[in-house]
Structures are given as C-alpha cells and as structure tokens.
Amino acid sequence: MKILCVCGLGQGSSLILRMSVEDILKAKGIYADIDNTDASSASFERCDYIITSGEIAESISNPKAKVIIVSNYFNKASIEKEISEIFEE
C-alpha cells in the first residue's frame, strides 16, 4: 500500500504530516510505503492514498488514488480518525 503526504512545496508541512502518519500506522502495526512530495508531483505518482489539506486537495488530479483531507497536521488523534478507512484495508 502506498501513501503520499502532500503539501505545497514538498519539504515542510508534508514532512510533518508524514511523520504523524508514520507514527500512527506504526502504532497500529500497519505496514505501508509512505512518502511525501509536493502538489505538482502528486498528480503523477502511482499510489493508493493521498493525504493532504483542503486547499491542496483541489489542485491534485490523480485518477487512481483516494484523496483524504486532514485538518490538523500535528494532532494525531484527529488524523487517525480522518484516515481510518486506510485501516480497513
């Protein structure tokens, strides 16, 4: 399973998001390939999920991936809720 964390530039906020997601998945014992990048590359990456914020989500058009919007990059509890459908896989 491949997950992409996306922000505007690919080096700041997406990284923070990625760390949060990594921690969450690790705690749940779920293995996934997690990466982070910027919005322009995100549309071309082959992945299963794209996690990002609301504004960015609009500019991404990736035919195969599911886009999940999170509201707080730091708050693990809320992220966990938002990405819960990943756990069901």
Binding site: L9, S13, D23, G54, F74, K76
Partner: protein, 701 residues
C-alpha cells in the same frame, strides 16, 4: 528485419536479466533519447517475432520481457549464429570487417563492399579512408590496382594488426558474446574452439595463465595469422624485431606452441616451393616465434613468469618504489601492504615496457570505464610516473590508465581511504532539456563525478546504482541521500552548496592522513628511526578506534533550538493581516542576513497561490518557500501574536514558525521536534501562556 548493434545490446540485456527491460534502462544504457529507446524496443520485438522467440508484451509500458528460459536459450542460439547477411553493421563494425577482408584476401573490390553492406559507393570510399587511418599505427595501408585494394605493409606489422583487430572486436564491440563475434566476422568456429581448448588444457603444464578473453583473442588471431602465412609465406626470422634478445625466454613458449601442434596447424596448408612434404625446423621456429610473441602479450595482463628475466627485476622494483612514493605524495595518502603493491607496480612496468618495445597493442575494456569514472586517479598516476627514467618516452594514455588500476585497487583495499568518484543524480521536473542543461553545468563543476539524470520523481525508483547525493530543481526527499535544490542555471550559491557536500564526504580522510604524515615527520626529530614505525602504528591505531567519528561524518542535523535563537523570537499583540504577520515574523531573519527580502515575499506568494495550507493546525502556521527564493543560511524564527490572525474564514494562526531551509533534508530533525512538541494538545496552550520571549525560548529547548 536486420539486427544491429543497439538491438543486440538490448536483447542481450534482456537475455541476461530476469526483469523486463524498460525504456529508461535502454536510455541509460545506450545514452539515447526516450523516443529512440521506445522505437528500439519496438524493433526488438519485431525481430523477436520474426525469429519466433516468445516474449510478453505489456499494454501499460514499453518494455522487453522474454517469456521464459526456453526463449532465452533460443535467443542465445539465434544470436550466436548471426550471419553478416542478417545484420546491419555500424560504421566502425564495417571498417573492422573491411580490415579483416584485406587481411584474409589478396584483393578487395569496392563492389563487394557495396553488395555486402548495401551502402553507396561514396560511403564505401569514406570507409576506406577511415580504414586507412586505422591502419596507420601499424605502418600499413592499402594500394589500389585493377583487382581492387591490397593490403600493404611489413608482415610482422600485419600480425600486430591482426591482434589489434581481434581485440577490438572482442573487447570493444562484443564483450559479452564471443560466439556472435566469431560468427558475424566469419571466423572458422571449429578452429577457434579447438585452439582455445588446447591452450586451456595445457596451461598448467607450461605454467602459463591465460584468461578467457586472452584465450579467445589468441585463438582468433591465430586463424588470421594462418591465412596470412598461406598468402604471404613466412618471413625470415632475422626480420622479427629484437629476435636475438627474445630468443632466450620465449623459448619455452615456442616449445609449447610447437608441442601443442598449434604451429603445425598454422603451417599445414603452406607448402614451400621445393615441394617437400614436411616442415623444416627453421620454418616452425619462425612461425612459433611470432605466435609466441602474441601469446605473451595477450597474456601479459596476468603476468606471471611468462615474461621473464629479460628485464632487470631489481631496477624495476626500485622504480616501482619511486612511483609509489610520488603517488602518495601527490594524493596525500599512505598505502598499506606496500610490499605487495611494489610487486604489482613493478609487474605493470614490466608489461608496459615490453609492450612498448615490441609494439603490440591490445585494447582493454577497463580503460573506458576508468577514464570515465576515475580521471582524477589517472591524473595523479601521470604525475607519479613523471621523471622515471626507466620509461624513456612518455607513457601513452592507455598505459598510464593501466597503471592507475594498481593504485585504484589499492585504495579500495585500504579501508581508510576511499577515493570514490562522487555519484550524482540530477533530477528535474519533466523537461529533459532542463536535465541536460544541469548535467552540463555539473560536469563542469565536478569533473570527476559520475552523473545520471532523471526527470520526474518516479524514475528514481528504477535506480539500483549507488547515489551519493542528488541535485534537483524540485524539492524532494529521498531516504538517507542528501538533496541539494538548485536553479536550472546554477547560481554561485548553488555551486557552493554542491561542492560543500562533496568535500564533506572525502576531505576528512585526506586531512587525517596528512596529519599523520606530518606528525610522524615532526616526531622524527625526537625519536630514533627504529621507533618511528612503532609510533606511526600507535597513532594510526588511535585514529582507527576513533575513526567512526572522524571519517564520513556528515554534520549532525541542527535541532530546533539551534535554528531559533532567542533573537529570532518575538511576541506582538496583533498584526494587521496575515501578510503583515509573515513579514514581521521573518524580519529577524532578514536582519541577520539569513534570508533575503525576496524569500519573505516568496512565502507570501506561496500562500496566495496555494492557499493557506501552511496553517498546519488551528493556531499554528509554518510559512516557508523554496530555498532558492532567497535563503542564505538555514534558519527558523518564531513569532507569537496574541490575537488570532486570519488567513481565511476558518484558518487562523497565533504562532508563526518561519522556516528557511537550504535543501530537502537538513531541517528534518528540527521539523520532527516541532511535530513532537505539538502532537501534545496542551502544547499550544503552553505557548499561548508564555509572556516573554525567554519563556518561549525555553519551551523549544
């Protein structure tokens, strides 16, 4: 469809690999454009179909994928039996073929060339001009007459030409598939195999070491020599250069060749005019002499006592020591196992001298690779060879490259010093032109580097090669590999950063070695000469234990507190709007010249274009922009605004963490810290409660 060199390369790669060969692999391997690679794979598929070899084709992407082991075997068979008629020769291949024709026959007519290769008369004339150039180092050429072109030259030189032509074929053109080379260039397969087997079979007995390439080169050259002898007869032994000197030590080889019947084989169809049915001893000796020379030079790479007493061993060792010392001096290193190194350098010298003296050329595949990746080693080797009187004239480039192999090997052996060529990956957004532009600049900047280019992030996953660092126009992050984000046209600052990374990876070792050297020299003033090696050993041991800290230590990534100094923290009551807030927060960084005003504007611009995505959580914003927008020094700043600053209806921030990073990864640890601090929900409250900058500063320790 005809096969050609490029198709063959791709097919062989496919044959030897169990993964499909895709467009990017082909591009890299043959250094061609994407569309050319695409078409090439298509051609290969057509060829495979015509030859009824099964492959799997994919709808999604163009790649070559042989079906199973049976298809691989079938492919190997087809390639091994490749006939000239089914092949499209490249210019170089054609010219070598013409040389072989000139060697094998009395006359060669242009019509034959035109028919065989389907080229125009003009091309044919150009080919002959090219061939003439190739023949020059052998003092050979051709003359034209009523029956066509005839090879001209001293017969001994012609033998050398044979050896060269075969090594070109086997090393340069078809290093992986000798059978195809043999078939394509019309060598008699049975004969070559027989001689090769015979040679191998008796190696032990005569204490000769000969690797596979050498064996094949000799066997194939042999067939050409045989034809020459039947065309031209043997020439008097006195005409063989330096015959008297060589006589003594090539005796053993001659004996072997005669004993093996190889010489008989050569002279079999040759009947001297007197009509005698048997071969005279002198004739055998003559043939054996030439062949033994060839065998010697072909095997010279392995160099055991094949090349014997002819050269003064003691002298060689002395000069070897001198060369090694000069090398160490220029490179600033000290070699281990000097005794062994001395022996191999002496041996190399022997080979070099002999080859120079008798004028045999052999091409060596290592040469291309070394020239490409280790030109700095060659440079140092050349300097080390200067002033060595034993080598009278300057050594040719090829020979000095061979020499440098010794040093290269030794440096890898000694784990303390690794003089590796930096492997740089250039990444750009999708325009291949950008990649080429960047590659050119980086080649100029770091001439010793090996550079690869990719566009679009996902191509990176195709790389199995080792990468030291990445130079990219798009901010990316790759695990464990530093990324330097630069402009397409490298600014001075970009170049500075690139060089910094390279220096970080190698200079430490040099410094250490130089230090030890200097230290020992100083110590010599205070201790006796017997004690010097002991002291040196002790010092080296000491650094070995602490080595982990010294060598290849990339600077530790800065923590939050390193980046946000107290001077960079502010508390204000309110800000007019988010733009003013960002400008205010960034001010300390502008003031200490960590960033330029253009960066502040870039941060604002990012929000304007992408939206307030920098608000990572309610109340916390991380304004940032791309490094090349104006970051001078990696830094961060913090500003707390007591009243909420709104970016949009529902997005607001009180804390502004300004981030100025210089590449894709150095700020990682600091960001991780930030993430950990704020994963605790109470953190925001704590920050909001802080009244002074000092309190805030303590919160981020």
């Amino acid at each position: 469809m005809h096969l050609n060199y490029q198709m063959d390369t791709v097919l062989e790669a496919s044959m030897n690999s169990y993964m499909p060969i895709g467009v990017y692999e082909v591009m890299q391997c043959l250094d061609i454009s994407k569309s050319a690679a695409y078409l090439l794979i298509q051609d290969c598929e057509i060829w495979l179909k015509e030859n009824k070899i099964e492959f799997i084709s994919s709808d999604l992407r163009r790649e070559l994928n042989l079906a199973d082991q049976a298809s691989r075997d079938k492919l190997r068979e087809s390639l091994s039996g490749m006939k000239p008629a089914d092949y499209d020769f490249s210019v170089k291949e054609r010219r070598i073929y013409i040389i072989l024709m000139l060697l094998r026959r009395k006359n060669v007519r242009t019509n034959e060339i035109i028919e065989r290769f389907h080229v125009s008369r003009n091309t044919c004339i150009l080919d002959f001009a090219g061939v003439n150039k190739l023949l020059q180092p052998f003092n050979a050429g051709f003359s034209s007459g009523n029956f066509g072109y005839t090879l001209r030259g001293n017969e001994y030189d012609v033998y050398r030409l044979c050896l060269w032509a075969v090594s070109e074929i086997l090393y340069e053109l078809y290093p992986n598939n000798y059978e195809m080379a043999i078939s394509l260039f019309d060598f008699p397969k049975e004969m070559v195999e027989n001689i090769y087997r015979t040679l191998l079979g008796t190696m032990n007995q005569f204490k000769i070491l000969c690797n596979r390439e050498a064996g094949y080169i000799f066997s194939m050259t042999f067939t050409l020599v045989k034809i020459r002898i039947s065309l031209k007869g043997l020439f008097p032994i006195e005409n063989i250069p330096h015959y008297e000197e060589m006589n003594r030590y090539s005796y053993r080889i001659r004996r072997m060749l005669i004993h093996l019947g190889i010489v008989e084989e050569v002279l079999r169809d040759f009947c001297p005019g007197s009509g005698k049915g048997f071969l005279e001893d002198s004739q055998k000796v003559e043939a054996a002499e030439c062949l033994s020379r060839m065998l010697i030079y072909v095997c010279a790479e392995t160099g055991n006592d094949l090349i014997a007493i002819h050269v003064n061993e003691e002298d060689l060792k002395r000069y070897a020591v001198q060369i090694i010392q000069q090398y160490e001096c220029y490179a600033g290193i000290v070699f281990e196992d000097r005794e062994e190194l001395k022996n191999t350098v002496a041996l190399s010298m022997k080979c070099v001298l002999l080859r120079k003296k008798y004028g045999f050329f052999i091409f060596n595949p290592l040469i291309k690779e070394i020239r490409k990746h280790y030109s700095h080693i060659i440079h140092i080797t050349n300097k080390a060879l200067e002033g060595i009187h034993y080598i009278e004239k300057p050594v040719s480039e090829v020979e000095s490259i061979r020499f440098s192999v010794n040093f290269l090997g030794w440096m890898y052996k000694s784990k303390r010093v690794t003089f590796q060529t930096p492997h740089i990956l250039v990444m750009c957004a999708g325009n291949a032109g950008t990649g080429i532009l960047m590659q050119g600049q980086i080649e100029k900047l770091v001439p010793e580097a090996k550079i690869r280019t990719v566009s679009l992030l996902q191509e990176y996953s195709k790389f199995t090669e080792h990468i030291d660092f990445i130079v990219s126009t798009i901010p990316v992050e790759i695990k464990d590999i530093p990324v330097v984000v630069v402009n397409v046209f490298l600014t001075e600052y970009d170049k500075y950063r690139i060089r910094k990374i390279i220096e970080n990876k190698s200079v430490r070792d040099l410094d250490l070695k130089r230090f030890i050297q200097d230290f020992i020299i100083m110590a010599k003033d205070f201790i006796t000469s017997e004690e010097v090696p002991l002291l040196r050993h002790r010092v080296e041991e000491y650094f070995k234990i602490n080595k982990a800290k010294i060598i290849y230590e990339t600077e530790g990534k800065p923590m939050l507190k390193d980046l946000i100094s107290e001077r960079r923290i502010q508390i204000v009551d309110f800000a007019e709007d988010w733009r003013a807030a960002i400008r205010l927060a960034a001010k300390p960084l502008e003031e200490d010249q960590s960033i330029e005003p253009s960066y502040t504007e870039a941060m604002i611009h990012t929000v304007e274009t992408l939206g307030p995505y920098i608000v990572l959580a309610p109340g916390i914003a991380l304004p940032h922009a791309r490094p090349e927008a104006g970051v001078c020094v990696m830094s961060m700043a913090l500003m707390k605004v007591k009243e909420k600053v709104y970016f949009s209806e529902d997005k607001y921030a009180n804390l502004f963490f300004v981030l100025a990073s210089i590449d894709g990864s150095s700020h990682l640890d600091a960001l991780r810290e930030l993430s950990m601090i704020f994963s605790d929900e109470a953190a925001l409250d704590k920050f909001m409660k802080a009244e002074t900058t000092n309190e805030l500063y303590r919160l981020i320790q």
